[in-house]
Symmetry: C2
Subunit: 414 residues, 2 copies
Amino acid sequence: MPIPANTSLKSPLVIIMVGLPARGKTYTAQRLQRFLLWRGYQSRVFNVGNTRRAQVGAQVPHNFFDRENAVGLTARRAAAESTLDALLEWCALGGQVAIYDATNTTRSRRNWVKIACEERGLRVLWFEITCADATVIDTNIRASKLSNPDYKGIDPEAAVADFRARIAHYERAYEPLAPEEGSHIRLHDLGQRIELFDIHGYLQGKLVSLAMNLHTVPRPIYLSRHGQSEDNRQHKLGGDSNITNAGKAYAQKLAQWFQDRDKQSIQIWTSTLRRTIQTAVPLSDHAIALKSLDEIHAGICEGMTYEQVREQMPREFQARKEDKLGYRYPQGESYEDVIERLEPIIFELERQREPVLVIAHQAILRALYGYFTNRTRSETPHIEIPLHTLIRITPRAYGYDEERVIMGPEVPQT
Amino acid sequence: MPIPANTSLKSPLVIIMVGLPARGKTYTAQRLQRFLLWRGYQSRVFNVGNTRRAQVGAQVPHNFFDRENAVGLTARRAAAESTLDALLEWCALGGQVAIYDATNTTRSRRNWVKIACEERGLRVLWFEITCADATVIDTNIRASKLSNPDYKGIDPEAAVADFRARIAHYERAYEPLAPEEGSHIRLHDLGQRIELFDIHGYLQGKLVSLAMNLHTVPRPIYLSRHGQSEDNRQHKLGGDSNITNAGKAYAQKLAQWFQDRDKQSIQIWTSTLRRTIQTAVPLSDHAIALKSLDEIHAGICEGMTYEQVREQMPREFQARKEDKLGYRYPQGESYEDVIERLEPIIFELERQREPVLVIAHQAILRALYGYFTNRTRSETPHIEIPLHTLIRITPRAYGYDEERVIMGPEVPQT
């Protein structure tokens, strides 16, 4: 439900990350931002580490982070300040949810950030991440820190040792969040334990749902349109037609592909429309049909061809052309409506640790694909999701892998 | 998204409440059950206190609850056992989510319950409620315990004193949940702080969203259908027609009613269809139009009259008559689909502490009304939501108050 600005976002929200290095703050900040952008909030991450690298260069030794090191302290404070300035300016210019990505491990530092935000009427939400599992921290260091510019060209083991020493400087000063500091979400040990303090808002609730489902276990998400349908062949919008012989051939190829390759149990989700259910038939008799995966509803234009819409409803045709994201078919849906109804599907896809194959429709898959590949909302209605092509996305901690398998048979793309 | 039994409910789930008396366990258990039933899960609360009252009578002195009292201990253990037996039997017969409502304040008691469940392949979720605020506990005692059969006919102050002494017996033995006991949700101080331990599932996530939004601040929820529409007058399904002059007169009366009575700021939510938006016009220019409040979509039957459906699609007409809840219009929606898409609206309505007026449609309001008044799912499609009538529901800790204001003008009900 897109509660508009006057009820859900009276004033911009600043999410302030808290936690020692290598706890997954940047990963989490990016996931929060991706979700917020997808849901249509102006959102941006402001990363102090990046500012510091830009200001004093990347390769600084660990004792730069020692609290006794006055030079380091001054430089780091300067980076924190200019990053915060940029954040505050962005909020003043209409930003809705800013994420301040830094360690913020001392109470005095947090207090300074909080006061700066609150003085400008911004709301503050703390997001703390802790981890007691040394293996996880080690994996984080190796997965993300060694590829960061701070350690470019440095021997990996030396880099790990230096980063551990860097963490130790922070550990000495670390003061975990206290209730009196205000609303917060705290993730322990990769979400094994989550604490929520004074979390009640609409948007905050969504962020908790997201945080509960995030994990970094790699698993592929497969996206496929149904095989060609009768209505595809006639260029008609919507409807509930059967798949053609070419569509059936695609369904067979798809089943064969999974039989040859992906032996592990895979979940199959379809829409409730015939063309997706029929496409799943050769694959499995355990497919789950979900109403929320049904194609964008074209309202009074259902059953018409694009050509007919252009001729008979030139105003509608033009309005959709000008704003394909926000345009709502009379008595039907817009892409924005579709994104909203897909939110529970996104939480479910985030949560799954096993492969899932989603057999759905063009607009639906554009919205899902856009989420997992960080497309902007305005790009979403224009993403290419061809017929008879299997898309495999494997989300990674930073970024994702993508493979497109053109299965055929070749049919006109609609 | 109704993930069917094979993925979301491999085996029945037993939610075991934990907490001292007067912390709101029974209130929370009932709210969980109401939500689960509304979402279509077979759900039931098993309350040990009720069993104990049935077995040994209601009026027992507080020292019945003293752990040194062997008679009391035996009787209470017997009540716990037969309640658990009933729960286990219900699960074996197809129950999906059982809620075991008792204090369960010692680890040995919890361990006994857990083993009994797990031996039968049932999954366990702990739900602990704590409260450090003496005022809240006092309010709880006065609001719910004094009206319970244990204190029927007893002087209120004596009853409060006795109940406090009863709590003290439990406090001496209370061992809060520990992580090694397994997945749990813990609510502190009316949800001010919430801890989630090892909570990852689909259903568990929904229960957290609900728990985050529950509160006991009384505020009215107003439900109203739009004023009579052109299509109402012609008995047509769906569509997006304008309201009639009678509909406009209702809109004026509605606005006047709120001007006369409810001076406080009220939120107004409409659907995106003309007839609800037009009804809100005299009330406010701040109404929020929400797609998820749009009327049940009648698919290929949109624009037809009921009479036409009966004549031209006798099979559809008959199928809907036989299962109005599960029947899905071809290319349209079922009541079950509607309930699913209203879930975020329910969380939002639970969360609001100010009055909200929902101006929507018959099927939508049936689903919302059914939730707040504990109707069964099968009753939902038959609830009477007349035109030109304002319904005011004020949720209470146990139950609700309802008022129906017949505003007029009188029009044929459709």
